[in-house]
């Protein structure tokens, strides 16, 4: 017996729904839980009459009686009806929440996104991820996330299975994934299975909501930072739906009034998804996403950065009865375009287009689950670095990667599940077959989800890299290109082991340790005079750390405390180092190596009010301190005439050893209070709050060449409003 469990209104697959099959004449049970596609499968059912119960937190339980004959294969897909929510009722599920992590994986629901105070009327995935331990955001500008020591270009973002390159907006609270559009997210901080390939750090697999197939609805919101319109409804009632959204920043216009100075940041995104529901056996959707970001990190510097994503893709899920099979297909094109420089003269640009076809199949043999698939990815990469000198200046390249993967889930002694798998592909970049073995497991020693030991080990390769400015964390221009080193792939070995414990009374706790071994990571070649360097050298790396999470959910409270310890070290050998530092090999902690991080969230409902607090502490990030400044004179062509006009020389920063010093610690408190009003046609929600309540001058970026420091946003009070129809 198999099927897909969805929500009746939205059609979204419900992950973690419980399916219980009880034989009526006896007291025997069989059960299963749905996966991320809402798919379940129960095998080895004897002929007879059964009572079927399907339950999911926040939804009405579905019950039915079934007669199952011998050698019969049955498909039972059910759309569960959502319980009527009392106003502001908090719906929680054992499968949701930041307190539960299983081998690097966290399931994030749209409810989770709304818990983090955000300077708009709704939550956003970008704000939420920054509230988790192990994730370093270098500031509230730039949209860069460093996950467990991985760099932003090593993260894989998927939107309904379609890759998107840089979905986080330049103002770090916002992304192409606002709460209203997101159904759920599978977030792998490491140790991900073979279904995902092409990146070596993490996977953020976002499932977007389908439009309402029965009723047309909409919402509009505005805050000093952003406005957002969203609408959805049926195309053919009950059969197909659409959902569309437009989001645009306001901060550039409001910042002089709100923050006391202009923040030259602009961003926006447009999204449309059309879904057809083919009865209980198939769902297909087509989506389009466009994002645009533009900004200056330093207002005194003429250089600005722009980037844009365009994704057009299709996604189909279908069930087959003979054999029992879940079929999943993704097809589309995803482009990112980056540019940096002054308005008149762009200095650097990069454009990358990925065409992809992914076919994924899921089937069972006895109790063993097989997930396998084939894919073809074709990348067209174009880049142009208009620099004075450097390595790869400009070029274009096609890279084709056909391949396949297999992951099995084998239950052993009911309490242990092991998931060995492998991804195998041919890559143009190397001209050969490459395979990446992966292994995940989870063990529930007492047979319940309340206690679970989970772990993963896997090998990961990446053939494309995003080259950024060497000045490190403050830089956001990223040029995608094939790895311009002797070895054309980055390599990471992940190992992680964690324990999750439900403590009762609404508490759950998890602790996960991780180790990553990195090879062939391209790092900039260091010099004293260039600011953007595209000469690269390979580095080895090791990352180790641990994330601790404690979560409490009990109406009217929600609280979360996270602590992350991380240590990232790179080792690189460069020609200059011998002369510069006396040793050709340098060990250093890169610019995003945050050693300690504490995140705390607190939400409370008081009648019609919801209060939210978010606090984050991060220990200082490394930077290379200068030993001083001077002007260097050149003797190689002719003797410098210091007393002549030509004898000034070139300004030079005398840099010390790499990243030996650390910036001050980061510390921010955000606050919000929200109230909802019921209107005749819908709901009005008003939120007031402030980010950086302390008004602390958190350092975002320090330019050692100009000695200008750029702080993160000062205290930013805001009032936002949202109206939605019901």
């Amino acid at each position: 017996m198999q099927g897909i469990i969805t929500g009746k209104t939205t059609g979204r697959p419900l992950e973690g729904a419980n399916i219980l099959l009880k034989e009526i004449s006896q007291k025997k049970f069989k059960g299963a839980a749905t996966d991320h596609s809402g798919y379940y499968h129960i095998s080895g059912i004897k002929p007879g009459r059964y009572l079927l119960r399907i339950s999911y937190v926040g939804y009405m339980t579905y019950s039915d009686t079934l007669a199952i004959k011998a050698d019969q294969s049955k498909t039972m897909s059910v759309a569960l009806k959502q319980k009527e929510k009392k106003m502001n009722q908090l719906v929680v599920s054992a499968h949701e929440g930041a307190g539960k992590v299983e081998a690097g994986r966290q399931h994030i629901s749209s409810v989770d996104l709304g818990r983090v105070p955000s300077p708009s009327s709704e939550g956003d995935l970008a704000s939420y991820l920054q509230s988790l331990p192990g994730i370093v955001a270098t500031g509230d500008r730039g949209g860069q996330l460093y996950i467990r020591g991985g760099t932003p270009s090593q993260n894989l973002f998927l939107i309904d299975g379609n890759p998107v390159w840089q979905p986080f907006h330049i103002l770090g609270y916002f992304s192409a994934f606002p709460q209203d559009l997101v159904s759920n997210v599978n977030f792998y901080a490491g140790g991900f299975g073979p279904r995902y390939s092409g990146r070596i750090s993490s996977v953020i697999d976002v499932k977007m909501r389908d439009g309402n197939r029965n009723k047309t609805k909409g919402s509009a919101s505005v805050s000093p930072f952003v406005w957002h319109l969203m609408a959805e409804g049926p195309l053919k009632k009950g059969k197909s739906s659409w959902i569309g959204s437009v989001q645009h920043s306001l901060i550039e216009n409001t910042s002089p009034f709100l923050l006391g100075k202009k923040e030259p940041l602009r961003f926006g995104s447009q999204y449309l998804k059309v879904t057809t529901f083919g009865g209980s056996k198939s769902t297909c959707s087509v989506m389009g996403l466009h994002t645009y970001d533009r900004g200056q990190m330093d207002i005194q510097d003429n250089d600005r950065v722009r980037w844009s994503n365009t994704v057009v893709g299709g996604h189909c899920v279908a069930l087959s009865n003979n054999p029992d099979l879940l079929f999943n297909l993704n097809l589309g094109v995803s482009n990112v375009w980056n540019e940096a420089g002054s308005e008149q003269i762009p200095k650097r640009s990069s454009s990358t287009t990925l065409g992809y076809l992914d076919v994924n199949l899921t089937r069972f043999w006895n109790k063993i689950r097989f997930e396998y698939g084939l894919f073809v990815h074709i990348n067209y990469i174009k880049y142009d670095m208009n620099e004075l000198f450097g390595g790869p200046r400009s070029g274009n390249k096609n890279l084709m990667t056909p391949g396949g993967y297999l992951e099995t889930t084998i239950p052993l002694w009911e309490k242990l599940r092991i998931k060995p798998g492998v991804v195998l592909y041919y890559t143009d970049a190397e001209g050969k077959l490459v395979y990446e073995p992966r292994f995940r497991f989870n063990w529930q020693p007492w047979g319940t989800e309340d206690q679970e030991l989970s772990g993963a080990i896997g090998l990961y390769y990446q053939h494309l890299t995003g080259i950024t400015d060497k000045s490190g964390a403050g830089s956001i221009f990223r040029a995608w290109m094939p790895i311009p080193l002797k070895k054309s792939r980055m390599e990471a070995l992940h190992m992680l082991l964690g324990w999750h414990q439900s403590l009762g009374g609404g508490f759950q706790v998890s602790l996960e340790g991780y180790y990553k071994r990195l090879r062939n990571i391209p790092v900039p070649i260091w010099s004293t005079t260039t600011r953007f360097v595209t000469d690269l050298a390979p580095a080895k790396g090791k990352i180790y750390g641990a994330d601790f999470r404690l979560e409490f959910q009990h109406n009217p409270f929600y609280a979360f405390l996270g602590y992350g310890y991380s240590n990232t070290q790179y080792t690189t050998s460069q020609d200059l180092f011998k002369t510069w530092f006396g040793d050709a090999t340098e060990h250093y902690h890169p610019a995003f190596d945050r050693r300690h991080q504490i995140n705390a969230q607190f939400n409370m409902k008081l009648g019609t009010y919801t209060i939210g607090l978010g606090w984050e502490y991060g220990s200082g990030l490394p930077y290379t301190s200068p030993d001083g400044f001077d002007e260097v004179l050149n003797f190689s062509q002719r003797l410098p005439q210091v007393n002549k006009k030509s004898g000034f020389g070139t300004s030079r920063v005398l840099l010390g050893k790499l990243y030996q010093d650390r910036m001050p610690a980061f510390n921010r408190l955000d606050f919000s209070i929200k109230r909802s009003f019921h209107l005749r046609f819908g709901q009005l929600q008003i939120q007031a709050g402030a980010i950086n309540v302390y008004d602390r001058s958190n350092l975002f970026y320090y330019n050692i060449y100009t000695q200008r420091r750029l702080n993160q946003l000062p205290i930013a009070p805001y009032i936002s409003m949202k109206i939605k129809t019901i």
């Binding site: 409370m604 607090l613 200068p626 001077d630 003797l639 005398l654 408190l669 302390y694």
Partner: protein, 277 residues
Amino acid sequence: MYLGKRHIWVLSGLAILSLLIIDSCDPAFNPLAGSDKYDFSIYGYLDATADTQWVRVMPVRDSLFFSPRPINASVILKDNQSGRRVTMHDSLFQYYQHRYAHNFWTTMKLLPDRSYTLIAKQPDNPAHSDTVKVSLPKDYPTPRFYKKQNLVIIDSVKNLVDVSVIYHYQGVQGNSGSIIYPHIEDSSRSSGRYSVNLKLDHDLYELRDYQITYKQIYVAASGPGWPDFSMIDKRIESLPNGISNVKHGVGFVAGIISKTIPYKTCRDAKENVVPCP
């Protein structure tokens, strides 16, 4: 579990207060605090044939030098053989807008094949003192020039460090000046003799709109310790200690003997090419 509204407010208040207490102060951030690895940046050369010696001495400082300010430096030139010391004169130069530097000068007569020491120190803090030992080369014969072949012959020189052509011009509005083009790359060495086959096409193309009144050839040879720039990576050259010969500081000071000859061939009575007087 039952919590009254009063308890809830108290709990919330305590939570907010504890977060505010933890740390809301702005920490100081001064990336250059305590950095005293280098004292001075010293660049230039000492030339035994020059009337005046010019050397750039600037403190290694905490910022780029965008406006003039006192630099707290005194510079002494010492003859290592005789022990004679002179204090060099400080002179502030403006090169471009907001670009300044201090150059130190003296008219002390320098002799070939002698060594000198430049000492830069902070008068109020003698512990901060940088020194450069500069050795001047032996004198060498004035180079000969074969105009027909554009060939300069330089004998008895160990390190040829500069060969340039100086173009003196007269502007249409009566202004005049000179432009210098380096030609060290045109030189080659064999049997202890340097030959410089001057390739002037590029210079003449660039100067096509100038009225050149006369040309000179400038040649300089250095003493020991001259780095082989043809073998040194540009990035190494720019490192603080890449080519530095300044003790406790950064920079490079060369000891040279220069010769400037007219762009013409001089011959003796037997029509042999000889150095021009």
